[in-house]
Structures are given as structure tokens and as C-alpha cells.
């Protein structure tokens, strides 16, 4: 299928996840068959001020394609201005963040708080679409809270303003990440616009992916936290959706191998110091639920170097034989 003029192969997209779905993880997900990946969110204001952190976040390697860069902010002009800089990393798509529930973002007028101001949201989309040479997509939530569910209105306005696709996360901002996702709202949005819809929320495996597609009739699904510690989920989803095959979970040794590969990439891209520190949370996800994982949790939380990691990985493999 196509988003704007961009050809998309496969059904499962990797969600933007700040501080987590970085280049190393995104590359792995592409290897496993993600249809496309989205960068960590980038502040449009930061970009326009030449802020170092925003600059660092704005990176897409050749190994992670097709890819979208996600920008957030609340000023249509600044959002539009940031497009030129963003295009330097050659994204296939630009995504507008209207779904982040974090107080730092949503408390400052951007992210999910744009649901409280659909007119402003529409202006932002219009401005970015005008400035962007590539298709623009928008990620929204169900609404601000249970009393203001307005995903359908937001979607229609986005379509009007020229968006090429919309991702809908079936929760309100108030709900953060807690209660089970509401798929009805995603189905309603799908019925109300003609551009592609990406369904997002609580997708963790091939079954939940299939259910989302079936119940909402959406065009693609987006998986975020469900992929952490298990990037092979993309292969599993693809195999199921394309051929009805259920691929078994990889054996523990394979999982540990991927974890080590991931963390090596992290260190390669970010240096050993930052790499190993970021590795700690990933190692936690990769080892979750395995025999002996609880025993090593503390050690993994204070991971310092690869030797340590390899030793723990080996021990966990032996305990799970």
C-alpha cells in the first residue's frame, strides 16, 4: 500500500519511542521486517534554535529505511520551519506528534494536548504539509480525556489539511498507557476518512495484530512497547498475516544473541559509556520472564561492560536449558 507516494511493504510499523527506539533498535526492527520505522520525537523549537540534543536525535541511517522523522510542537510556523532541517536526514515521511501524553510535552501545548485545540492542530498540519516535500502523517490519541473524545474530528481535520495517513492510539491522554486499548474509536476513524489509518495500542504479537486489523479495518498496525526486547515480533507478525504461519519464539540462546548484538550496536553508535547505560533497560526487556532473570536483574541494572553482559547472557542460557 502507499502513504502518499511512498510504497510501504508489510503491515507492521515500529512506533516512535523517545529514549528507547533509537537507531540501533530501529535497524534491528527493519532487519526483522518492520514496514517502516519512526525516529524518536524531535522538538521543532529545538531544531529551529540549533539545539544540540535535537540535532543528535535527528538521525536516520541507511540501514533503517523506510523511515519517518517525528516532530512535536505547537507553533505552526516553527513546525513548518523545522521541516527544512529535518529533510537533511532524508526521511521518507514526516510524522506530527499529537499523541505524547508526557507532561513535559503535553503540558507545553504540543503532543496530546493538541486534541484540546483541533483548530490549531489543523493549522499545524497545513503548515507542515505546505513545507514538506514528503508525505506528512499525524499520530493522535482518542482524545484528551473521556469527556472529550474527538479522534474522528481530529482525523477529518488532518485529512482536510493534507495529511497522508493517521495513526490512532486507542487511549485518551488521561489514560496514559494504562487501560486496555479502545479499538472501536480506531474503527470509527477508519470509517470517517479516506486516507490510510494505522491502528496502535496493545499490540504484542501476531494475534493482537490480526485482531486490530480485523476489528478496526485499519490499513497498518503500529507496535511500540510490544516490540521491546523482542524485535523478532515483526517477523512473527508478517509470517502470520502473510501466510497464516505461527513462528515459534526464538530459543533463549537466540534471544540472548540478539540482545548482545543490539547492545553492541548501541555501544558502536553512542560509545561505551552511554551505550552500556542505555543497554541496561534493553537488557531488562530481553531477559524478562526467563528463568534466573530476577536473580540477575540487579546486575543488569548496573551493567558496565560487554564482558559482564556476555557472562550474564551465558548464565541465563544455561538456566533455561
Amino acid at each position: 500500500m502507499k502513504i502518499g507516494n511512498v510504497e510501504i511493504k508489510g503491515k507492521a510499523v515500529l512506533a516512535p519511542m523517545a529514549g528507547v527506539a533509537d537507531r540501533a533498535f530501529r535497524e534491528l526492527c527493519v532487519d526483522y521486517g518492520a514496514a517502516f520505522v519512526v525516529s524518536e520525537m524531535i522538538s521543532s523549537k529545538g531544531v529551529s534554535m540549533g539545539d544540540r540534543k535535537s540535532k543528535d536525535l535527528m538521525f536516520l541511517s541507511e540501514k533503517e529505511r523506510p523511515a519517518a522523522v517525528q516532530i512535536f510542537g505547537s507553533d505552526p510556523m516553527i513546525m513548518a520551519q523545522s521541516v527544512e532541517t529535518v529533510m537533511q536526514v532524508n526521511p521518507q515521511i514526516i510524522d506530527i506528534n499529537m499523541g505524547c501524553p508526557a507532561p513535559k510535552i503535553a503540558g507545553n501545548g504540543g503532543g496530546a494536548s493538541l486534541a484540546k485545540n483541533p483548530e490549531l492542530a489543523e493549522k499545524i498540519v497545513k503548515a507542515v504539509v505546505k513545507a514538506s516535500p514528503v508525505p506528512v502523517t499525524v499520530k493522535i490519541r482518542m482524545g484528551w480525556d473521556e469527556n472529550s473524545i474527538n479522534a474522528v474530528e481530529m482525523a477529518k481535520r488532518a485529512e482536510n489539511a493534507g495529511a497522508s495517513a493517521i495513526t490512532v492510539h486507542g487511549r485518551t491522554r488521561k489514560q496514559m498507557y494504562a487501560p486496555p486499548v479502545d479499538r472501536n474509536i480506531i474503527a470509527e476513524v477508519k470509517k470517517s476518512v479516506s486516507i490510510p489509518i494505522i491502528g496502535n495500542g496493545d499490540i504484542v504479537d501476531e494475534q493482537s495484530a490480526a485482531i486490530m486489523l480485523e476489528e478496526t479495518n485499519c490499513d497498518l498496525i503500529m507496535i511500540g512497547r510490544g516490540a521491546l526486547g523482542c524485535p523478532w515480533v515483526f517477523s512473527q507478525i508478517n509470517a502470520y498475516l502473510e501466510h497464516g504461519r505461527v513462528l515459534p519464539t526464538p530459543p533463549v540462546s537466540e534471544r540472548m544473541r540478539v540482545m548482545i548484538k543490539h547492545i553492541e550496536k548501541l555501544c558502536e553508535y553512542k560509545g561505551d559509556y552511554v551505550g552500556m547505560r542505555e543497554a541496561r533497560k534493553h537488557a531488562g526487556w530481553y531477559t524478562k520472564g526467563l528463568h534466573g532473570a530476577a536473580k540477575y536483574r540487579q546486575e543488569l541494572g548496573t551493567l558496565e561492560n560487554m564482558e559482564q553482559l556476555q557472562e550474564i547472557a551465558y548464565k541465563i542460557c544455561m538456566e533455561n536449558r
Binding site: 515459534p248 530459543p251 540462546s253 537466540e254 556476555q310
Partner: protein
């Protein structure tokens, strides 16, 4: 009879008789195999179990996921094949490596035909084992296969201890040796590599499993195994 005619008989005996290709029994010159091997060669044929490499008709494994990505083998460790491999291992009949490598290479070409191997390696001897034997039979098999498959052989693995003596077991426990008895050789990189691992016989699979596991922990992408023979557990009746 005098000594010269005895000598003549002996030379004639050497010249006129042949040995069975696999088990080394004396046979007549016209044959390649002895009667037993001809009739009852324990070949693995037909559909194979993907977990243990045995034929589906004889597989009795618990379908445990191994740490290696595949296993292939031409024979069961029985009859003449068992004899021949014991001769190779214990009786210095090194020429048998060439014989078995032929069948092993054929298996690799059939079962792993679309896999691009970076190198071949073999289950190593410990320093102590090296002093005990004239050669490592798995190393010989690996070298013969390397010629046939045109893949380089690398001495990638080391065996750190022998686990048979109490002394060595105590060392392992004291050091908190977590890497078991096998490891990748210091300074050798297996990062991102697709490896073909060779051993003479697979019994429980533990040796191959441990070697494959440590290679993956050190960064190998895939490890496939080939052995000359494998043991199948008998089904309990």
C-alpha cells in the same frame, strides 16, 4: 615352508586383499564394502527431524530447541560406521577422515545448500587431550571438508578444561567458570559470522550445543553443525 615363502605369502596377502571403506574389515578386491556394510549401512535417509538430524522414522528426540541452527549427518553411529569411527578416534586410522568427510560434505551440500558459510571450525581438544592423541579426528574431518566445500577452516574454539577429573571440576567451580569448558579463541572474532561446526559424533548434542552457544554469545550470527554420525536413543518399549 621357509621364510621366503612365508614372506611371499605375506606380501601377496597385503597386495591382494582390501579393507572395507568404512569399517576397515578385510574384504576381497572386487568390493568397496564388506558384506555387513553393504547390507546394513546405517545411512540416514528420507525426511529428517529438524531438531536432531535423525530420520523421522527413527527420531526419538524430545524436540528440544538446540542452540545451533541446524544439524546434518550421513550416518547413525552403528555397525560398521561405529567401528570405523572408533578406529579413526582411537586407533590412528587417520585415512578414514577422508572417507567420512566425503559423505559429510554431501550432506552439507544437500541440507545446507543455500547457506553462505564464513568458515568451518571443529570441536577442539583440551591441552591434556592433545598430549594423549596423535591428532584431533574432528580437526581432520574439518580439513577434509574444507577442501571439498571450498570453505576455509579456522581454529576458532578452545577447550579450557577436561571435566573428567575431580581436580578440573573443582577448578571450574572455584573460578565460577561460567563459560563452561569451551570458548572462542582469544583474539579470534566470530562477530556476525555464519559458522559450520564439525565433530565426529553427536551423542546428546551437549558438546555441539555448548560450542554453538558460546560462539553466539561472542557474536556469531548462525552456527550449523555436521557430524560423521549421530546416536539415536532407543524408543522405550
Amino acid at each position: 615352508m621357509n621364510i621366503f615363502s612365508k614372506l611371499k605369502d605375506f606380501i601377496l596377502w597385503l597386495v591382494l586383499t582390501k579393507k572395507c571403506k568404512y569399517c576397515n574389515t578385510l574384504i576381497t578386491k572386487n568390493e568397496d564394502l564388506c558384506a555387513d556394510c553393504k547390507e546394513d549401512l546405517p545411512q540416514i535417509s528420507g525426511e529428517k527431524c529438524t531438531f536432531c538430524g535423525a530420520g523421522k522414522d527413527r527420531c526419538n528426540c524430545k524436540k528440544h530447541r538446540m542452540d545451533f541452527d541446524g544439524i546434518t549427518s550421513p550416518f547413525y553411529y552403528e555397525n560398521g560406521i561405529k567401528q570405523g569411527l572408533q578406529l579413526l578416534k582411537f586407533n590412528n586410522k587417520s585415512h578414514l577422515a577422508n572417507i567420512f568427510a566425503e559423505d559429510m560434505a554431501k550432506c552439507v551440500k544437500e541440507d545446507f545448500n543455500d547457506i553462505d558459510f564464513d568458515f568451518i571450525c571443529y570441536v577442539p581438544f583440551s591441552p591434556f587431550q592433545t598430549t594423549e592423541r596423535n591428532y584431533n579426528q574432528s580437526e581432520l574431518l574439518a580439513e577434509e571438508m574444507s577442501k571439498r566445500l571450498e570453505i576455509p577452516v579456522k581454529n576458532a574454539l578452545v577447550k579450557l578444561f577436561d571435566v573428567k577429573t575431580q581436580h578440573d571440576m573443582a577448578i571450574m567451580q572455584r573460578k565460577g567458570n561460567v563459560h563452561g569448558i569451551y570458548d572462542v579463541k582469544d583474539g579470534f572474532s566470530v562477530k556476525g559470522k555464519t559458522v559450520l561446526l564439525v565433530d565426529d559424533i553427536m551423542t546428546t548434542g551437549e558438546t555441539l550445543n555448548n560450542c554453538a552457544l558460546i560462539m553466539k554469545i561472542r557474536g556469531a550470527e548462525k552456527v550449523y553443525c555436521v557430524t560423521a554420525a549421530l546416536t539415536v536413543k532407543e524408543k522405550k518399549k
